[in-house]
């Protein structure tokens, strides 16, 4: 079973067209293994992206350098998945 230890989901809100364009480019970079839960649409519209542990700090640094603000939407994805699994098993019992 694939684990998502250390993965975070970030909420990013592009403030202007330049940030929007940058995030759109980021969507096409497959090397960072970013998973856009909510895609890039328009200025002021939240983007949700899951970042794996190995690229999380790099992504945060890039966003900071570009002056793009973000907040963690899910701090520890695996913890939430564990909770979901626990609930499923509880119901099954």
């Amino acid at each position: 079973k694939e684990l998502f230890k250390g993965h975070q989901v970030l909420q990013i809100i592009p403030k202007n067209d330049a940030q929007l364009a940058f995030l759109k480019d980021l969507e096409d970079v497959l090397e960072f293994e970013l998973d856009f839960w909510k895609g890039v649409t328009a200025v002021s519209c939240p983007v949700h992206v899951r970042a794996p542990f190995q690229f999380l700090q790099l992504l945060k640094r890039i966003l900071k350098r570009k002056d793009i603000s973000y907040v963690p939407m899910i701090d520890d994805l695996q913890a939430v998945l564990d909770e979901e699994q626990k609930e499923i098993e509880l119901f099954a019992r």
Partner: protein
Amino acid sequence: SLKPKNTDSFNYSRYHKLSEIYSFQDMLVAENPNLVSKIVIGQSYEARPLSVLKFSTGGTNRRAIWIDTGIHAREWITQASGIWFAKKIVKDYGSDPALTDILNNMDIFLETVTNPDGYDYTQNSNRMWRKTRKPNPGSSCVGVDPNRNWDSGFGEPGASSNPCSETYRGPSAHSESEVKAIVDFVVAHKNIKAFVTIHSYSQMLLYPFGYTSAPSKDEAELHSLAQKAITDLASLYGTRYTYGSIIDTIYQASGNTVDWTYEQGIKYSYTFELRDTGFHGFLLPAKQIVPTAEETWLALMAIMSHTFKNPY
């Protein structure tokens, strides 16, 4: 094990394994032989049946409404809502005059797990899986985005040609058996008048087009019906939806389901993006399944009633 003995004791407030959903469907058919039947319209890549529940009070090839959930595997709220819709239909037939009127004249088809291979994979291997599970020759990446695989603007901007992308369109239109099965069914049926495909989690109700910014010829009607549907939806818990054409409301998406169905002549073609009202994304807590399904049902009823009252 507390295996439910019937669909009344089935727990609608939790997420279920594929086998449990299959059992639910069979129980529903067994309990309501004069209203519900199960048809298998094809096979997934991993040879699972593509089952569709048919709700019909008789007649031959009546005007019909299609609803599907779970084409994107990880959007668990949609499969769970689909199960709730199925039970709601049998519960309300005969007591809710609007639904009874619809079913006395039209059929409803409901595919609750449109991408069963993907759903099983999310349950057992990778909760974040979205696509189908067919390998891509020449690539280590598996699967196609079944909402980019339809023959409408296929290959145009708004989908990826890279098999490793989450929006990989596939090698050719209708290359995915999960998509082809619906295509064949819709084309053969010839009398489907509304087609609603259900996703999550951006709280939107969208209509064609996604591959082009050109408005559809029915845009005004689709827009006002969407407005009515999301107003009805919001009346229950105040959940706020946006609505509009796919390309104007989210982004360009070529090869998507409802562009194809609309171009097949199904005027009332809509795609839903159900809840997340909080910060859960695809991990919507199970306690929100029933409220989500309840509010969505009101919007579905608006679309179905309008379709029934406005034959074309």
